[in-house]
Every structure is written in structure tokens, then in C-alpha cells.
Symmetry: C2
Subunit: 195 residues, 2 copies
DNA sequence: CACATTTATTATCATACATCAATGTGAGAC
DNA sequence: GTCTCACATTGATGTATGATAATAAATGTG
């Protein structure tokens, strides 16, 4: 089932079916079970994943043992631990599976290898990276200035479907607040909405 | 004085002097005065800047008129407002000059244009983007979990020379705290260091 | 130089959020 | 079915940081 990734490429690249299926032919799939740890801090890995179905998360663990969620990756997102994946350094973050997940394994130099076949592929890669940066800048902006409630509202606007798939304590961790605080924010919002 | 940017490229690309000077020949310089606003939210711009000397900042202004600093760009850093620069959308952030600054103007498709001459240039661009992402992930991680003091200590380790060049209220804004809080944090640290 | 403006400090008070602890609830294991 | 165990809620209390305001120091400007 590499169709999804192929569709993803074609949608963004305007290339022929042959080109696309050629590009995709050197890829393979991998499956992770719910709860499975994929990367530990310190690991040396080199694969990026395109999520076909399911949900991954990338997080850190601080000195007090507290988890901080850096990123969620649902369907059609990419996930990688960049220190290990692109810089050949030990991973600084953890990655695990929140749901049973199917991914397309994108090897370290997939993009440069298929460049002769699909020249525009590097441009696409660049565009996706710029988009990630834009996304993270927005998040930084929220973390700098917004209250717990504002961040939560922003989250549900951005990830309406994740709300239902991710336990609240993880959402809290993504927002940089405690589960208790999130619970109170929700209570507050609910109360206000009934008037 | 395009030397600096040329050196920057050569250091990372292992290309000949000719290639490098050819690449650099289509670029030009620009100067900004201290305090000058370069991009306003809403603007449509298309240039990225490589900072030769001086210091730029990228920031937002929230509904209460409060500034939040997304990024500093000292010598040898790149600065761009991505929404406008790469996505042809109105800028969401502001950019201005903290010091008199000299930049190399990197037009929107500089990288793809010189690709025929310096094929590896796209790889370099990709690497730089990955690096930005890594950098921002670390910052998000700090904002999620660290106290004001920890963030400040991290900042001075990361940007030892910016400390002296940037007013404290801007550092506070970058850290997501008030100038008053930063002042207290500093006082505290100073006290502890005298014992 | 004097004057205005920006920046930094300090003190007081207010508050959003954290922490701690108890209880409730629901889904999977057996 | 009931027993766990992870998750969510709620309340009481604590604390880091924000808000406000006054002063001081530094910086710029005519």
C-alpha cells in the first residue's frame, strides 16, 4: 500500500504515473504497534517516516522524568528525529506510536537518489521543510504569549481530529501545561458555552 | 563585500573559487539602519537575507500590543519571513534591524538558478533548513518545560555575544517572560554567584 | 550641555498555573 | 462479571511569574 505516498507526491509534483511509481518502487512499509517505542534518546537511526495511517509522537523527557511533546504526526505527515536522521548524531528525542501505525520508510538519501528521475523532488523537499519551520514558528509564538486556554483553542482548531484520538494528558504536554490545568480549562470553556 | 557569503558557501560546499564567485556574482548587498523596519505584517516580500554584519530580529505583535521575538539573526545567519518569502502570502511577522546591518540579498530562486553551476547547493539549502528545525525544536522544548532561569542560562550559553548587544527587554521577550522577571532572575543569579 | 526618552531595577500586590492528594470513571484482562 | 489500571476530574494550597508603579540610570538629541 504505497499508493498513499505516491498520491501525495503526485498531488504536489505534477509528474507522470510512471515517474511516480518508479520513485515509490524503492520504498517499503513498516508497522508499529500502539505504544511501541521507535526511537530512544541516544539512538542512531537514519529513517524518516511518512505516516500512511495511525499516529506517532516525538517527545523529550526532562530531568524530573516529565515528558514534553514536540510533535504529533498523523496521516500524511512526516516524522523523523533529525539529529540522528540527518546529522548522524545521537537522537535527542524519543519517538513512539500512539496508535497502530503504518509508515512508508524514507531512507536518508531517498530524495537525492530519485532526483535524476524526478528532478523537482528536491524543490518539494525544500518546500516541506519551509512549511515545517513556518508551523513551528507559529507554535513558538503561541508558547511565548498565549494563555493555556488560547493555546488549547488553537490546538483544536489546528488538529480537530487529534482531539479525539489523543489522551488529554498528552495534549496538555503538547501545550506546556499540566493535565489538571487542561481539565479546568475545558470545564471553564464548557460552562461558558452553555450560556 | 560579498566575500563573507562566498566564504560561507565554500566552507560548506567544497567548490572551486570560480564556481563560488560565479554563484555570488548575481547577488547584491543592502544596508539597514538601526531601528529600521524591514518587513511589516501583511507585506509581500520575496527576499531572504544573509547577514554580513549587524543584527536583525523577527517578531510578532499580539492583540495587546506586546511584542514576541521569534528569532534573532546575527552575522552568518539567514533571515526571512517565510510566509511572504516562500509562500507568496502576506507576512505574519515583522522584521527590523537592532543594529546597523549589512546583508546579502538572496532572491527567492537564487538556489534553483545557480543549481546548474553548483549542483550541491540544494543539498546545502536542505541541510540548513533541517538545522533550523532542529534548533527550533530545542527552543520549543525549553518553552514547554524550563523555568525562566533555565531559559535564560540556556540563552547566554547559546548566544554569549548577543547578551551584550541586545537590550534586556528583548531577551525577555525572546524567553517569553517580562523584563521585570528577567531582572529578578539576573539579580538572583548574581547573588548566588558571589557565595 | 540640558532635556527627553528608553531601559533597567525594585517593591508591592495579583493571578494563572503547578503541585499534591483524593475521588471518579471507563476500557481491557482474565 | 469484577478487577485493574490508566485517565480524568475536583478541591485545597503553593509559587513563579505577571501587572503596576515609582525610581534610577543610561542613552540619545538638538
Amino acid at each position: 500500500m504505497l499508493d498513499k505516498f505516491q498520491a501525495y507526491l503526485q498531488e504536489r509534483l505534477a509528474i507522470t504515473d510512471e515517474q511516480a511509481s518508479l520513485a515509490v518502487s524503492c520504498l517499503n512499509l513498516k508497522h508499529f504497534k500502539k505504544g511501541q517505542v521507535i526511537t530512544n534518546a541516544g539512538d542512531l537511526k537514519s529513517d524518516t517516516y511518512f505516516i500512511n495511517s495511525g499516529l506517532l509522537r516525538c517527545f523529550s523527557i526532562d530531568e524530573k522524568g516529565k515528558e514534553h511533546i514536540i510533535q504529533f504526526a498523523p496521516e500524511n505527515w512526516m516524522m523523523s528525529e533529525r539529529s540522528s536522521t540527518v546529522f548522524n548524531e545521537p537522537a535527542v528525542f524519543y519517538i513512539d506510536a500512539i496508535e497502530n501505525t503504518e509508515v512508508v520508510v524514507v531512507k536518508k538519501d531517498f530524495f537525492s537518489e530519485i532526483q535524476p528521475i524526478v528532478p523537482k523532488i528536491l524543490q518539494l523537499n525544500i518546500l516541506m521543510l519551509h512549511n515545517s519551520i513556518r508551523f513551528m514558528q507559529k507554535r513558538i509564538n503561541m508558547l511565548l504569549g498565549a494563555t493555556a486556554e488560547e493555546r488549547y483553542l488553537d490546538f483544536i482548531k489546528l488538529y480537530p481530529n487529534l482531539m479525539l484520538r489523543v489522551p488529554q494528558w498528552m495534549i496538555a504536554s503538547y501545550l506546556g501545561i499540566t493535565p489538571e490545568s487542561l481539565s479546568r480549562v475545558r470545564k471553564d470553556l464548557a460552562k461558558r458555552h452553555f450560556k
